[in-house]
């Protein structure tokens, strides 16, 4: 019995290691590449790379509640914006350095998300989606009215890495912010990977998403776990909101609380593949570059919107498991054909 157990445990560890290895090396290589990347980029491209990192991180944060837990949070951007304003208020009103603003934004939004999550997570499906959407819009309207956020005038944040409390003489701002985003984004990816792909916590989250009743009957406290995922994903969005606010130095409710912020997170996660680690990374890179490139080469930023719209509809129609699903071979030519045939049947209205 003992020997048999040893063998099985070793096998098991081996199997885990095999899989871990691949991912770990990939992560290490990616980290190295991204660390040296700015050396090869000018200011313009550093800013683009910085934006990619920001959006990959945000998409991953949405993916936690939307993809892994299956709760359609249509108001995630509220925390991005709240994080921005909290940071701004901490830095201007309290005159504390950025690091304090970042931490306070994270903690404040975690508490806010807990308070919001307790009643809101009781709703399911479409009701949760509408409720979070309405909540985010209400937050935006509130930020436009109250004084502390600057109302319709917005808010200016002290600039420069110096205010971070870290002396970085001679460093260009872009570099500082690039590495700030890099740390946040890599941290988010590593956390998501460990939490959702490798720990029992993540298995429980997926179990609740797939079959909440069965999960409950297996001793899983669905309410508590969903709440934790929601708080975590919202707090991460707040950290990115905080870093971004410090980077752009001027925050306005119509920018940082715009519905398009949430829209983009959802679209990126969906395009890449919901409930996967790779999905938000792929989706974040593709969509952000599409956004920047259309404005760069066509000189007209709004064309990006209809393109995004068509893209969303196309993914939902033909590749609901996203790019990751295509890479895994889940969406072949046959599937597309079958999809089209079934769609054609729906047009049979006579």
């Amino acid at each position: 019995m003992g020997a048999e157990n040893d063998l099985s445990i070793r096998n098991r560890i081996q199997a885990l290691l095999d899989r871990d290895d691949a991912h770990l090396w990939l992560f290490a290589a990616g980290t190295l590449f991204l660390t040296v990347l700015p050396l090869a980029l000018n200011t313009f491209w550093t800013r683009i790379a910085l934006g990619v990192l920001l959006w990959v991180g945000l998409a991953q944060s949405w993916n936690m509640i939307g993809g892994y837990a299956g709760y359609l949070d249509f108001g995630h951007g509220a925390y991005f914006g709240a994080g921005a304003f909290v940071t701004g208020i901490v830095m201007t009103e309290l005159e504390l350095p950025f690091v304090a603003g970042l931490l306070i934004a994270g903690v404040f939004c975690a508490v806010l998300a807990y308070a919001v999550g307790v009643p809101t997570l009781r709703l399911s499906g479409a009701y949760f989606a509408i409720a979070t959407w309405a909540f985010a819009e209400a937050i935006k309207e509130l930020a436009l009215i109250i004084e502390i956020t600057g109302g319709t005038y917005g808010m200016t944040i002290p600039t420069g890495p110096g205010t971070a409390g870290i002396p970085l003489v001679g460093w260009p701002d872009e570099m500082f912010f690039y590495y700030l985003m890099l740390v946040l984004t890599l941290g988010t990816i590593a956390l998501a990977y460990w939490l959702f792909e490798h720990s029992e916590f993540g298995f429980r989250v997926k179990a609740i998403r797939d079959h909440e009743d069965a999960a409950q009957s297996l001793g899983i406290d669905a309410t508590k776990i969903k709440r934790r995922v929601y708080v975590l994903s919202c707090a991460i969005a707040a950290l990115f909101g905080s870093a971004n606010a410090y980077y752009i130095t001027f925050v306005h409710p119509n920018d940082v609380l715009a519905p398009i912020i949430t829209d983009q997170m959802i679209i990126m996660a969906l395009l890449g593949g919901l409930g996967t680690i790779g999905g938000p990374i792929i989706g974040g890179v593709l969509i952000f570059l599409l956004n920047r490139m259309t404005s760069l080469f066509l000189g007209q930023t709004t064309l990006y919107l209809p393109l995004i719209g068509v893209l969303i509809m196309g993914i939902v129609l033909f590749a609901p498991s996203g790019v990751v699903g295509i890479l895994r071979g889940e969406v072949g030519r046959e599937d597309v054909k079958r999809n089209l045939r079934e769609l054609a049947e729906k047009f049979n209205i006579l």
């Binding site: 009701y127 509408i130 309405a134 309207e141 959802i266 919901l274 719209g309 079934e342």
Partner: protein
């Protein structure tokens, strides 16, 4: 004396506005009942209707009212084409069909808004009218712009026609049967595809018609849709999802609330109160106000 006059005026104005909102909400509620779809594009149909008014009216003699039947027919057809896609993405073996449906309408909304923005630019346009420029005097209360009164009346007529179709014709009966129980309707020989498409077509047509009215009263702008999506959500949340008679009340309540808050509380608070109420109503009465209970 002045304040009573103002109050009376606000109430009448609110009711007139509410009549138009009902035309938007009633189709939205129908689509939820029949298709079990919550359409994030609802406000964009309003926007497209208003834009159609602004662009087509000069062609038809500069009269926005003439666009009303055209908008209904045009968007009825658009809806007939859109619905099979929606039906397709919410059925079959795809994961999280509810998410897929919501996100699809989301994509549709962004596509509509983005297209109009790209083609026509960000400026707002007036929907011209020649006949509705005067005011109507109501003794003791005040003067009301003709355009508000006439659009409200036409809106109510459209609503009556809609209700007649739904409750007095074969097609309407089929649609209600689907809303009641899809499987039984299928067993009874109802062509589900056809009547779902018709239902969505009627919804798109009615909503765009409401859009022409709204364009006549205010103006048409590519960014106006979101507001009406919010209004539509507010109406169905208040009435109970899929509960048609409730929409008439909640539409009027919405019109009144908008007009009274604007006058007495201040315009900037309107949307905060509106969104806040949607959120709180959902939390407090998730199944009570929503006639049909939880979506599974």
């Amino acid at each position: 004396m002045v304040s009573t006059e103002l109050l009376g005026q606000s109430i009448v104005n609110g009711l007139l506005l509410g009549g138009i909102y009902v035309t938007v909400g009633v189709g939205f509620a129908l689509v939820f009942g029949v298709l079990e779809i919550i359409d994030f594009a609802v406000g964009e149909y309003v926007m497209l209707g208003a834009f159609m008014g602004a662009i087509v009216a000069p062609v038809v003699g500069g009269e926005g009212l003439f666009v009303v039947p055209l908008a209904f027919v045009a968007f009825f057809l658009v809806g007939m084409i859109v619905q099979p896609f929606l039906h397709h993405v919410t059925t079959g073996d795809r994961p999280m069909p509810l998410l897929m449906g919501l996100v699809f309408t989301f994509g549709l909304a962004i596509f509509m808004r983005g297209s109009v923005l790209t083609i026509f630019g960000p400026n707002t346009r007036a929907v011209p009218t020649k006949t509705l420029e005067g005011g109507i005097d109501v003794t003791g209360i005040g003067t009301f712009p003709e355009v508000r009164v006439v659009t409200a009346v036409v809106g109510v007529l459209a609503l009556v026609a809609f209700m007649y179709y739904l409750y007095r014709t074969t097609g309407g009966t089929a649609i209600r049967a689907i809303a009641e129980d899809r499987d039984i309707a299928r067993l009874m020989g109802v062509n589900i595809n056809r009547y779902q498409s018709i239902a969505y077509g009627v919804y798109a047509g009615l909503t765009a018609t409401g859009g022409v009215f709204i364009g006549l009263i205010y103006s048409a702008g590519p960014g106006m849709g979101l507001q009406y999506t919010a209004f539509a959500f507010f109406m169905i949340v208040l009435a109970g999802l899929g509960y048609l008679p409730g929409i008439i009340i909640s539409g009027l309540v919405l019109g009144l609330a908008q007009s009274l808050t604007a006058v007495y509380i201040g315009g900037e608070l309107v949307f905060f109160v509106l969104f806040g109420m949607i959120y709180v109503l959902l939390l407090v009465r998730p199944e009570g106000l929503l006639g049909k209970g939880e979506v599974s």
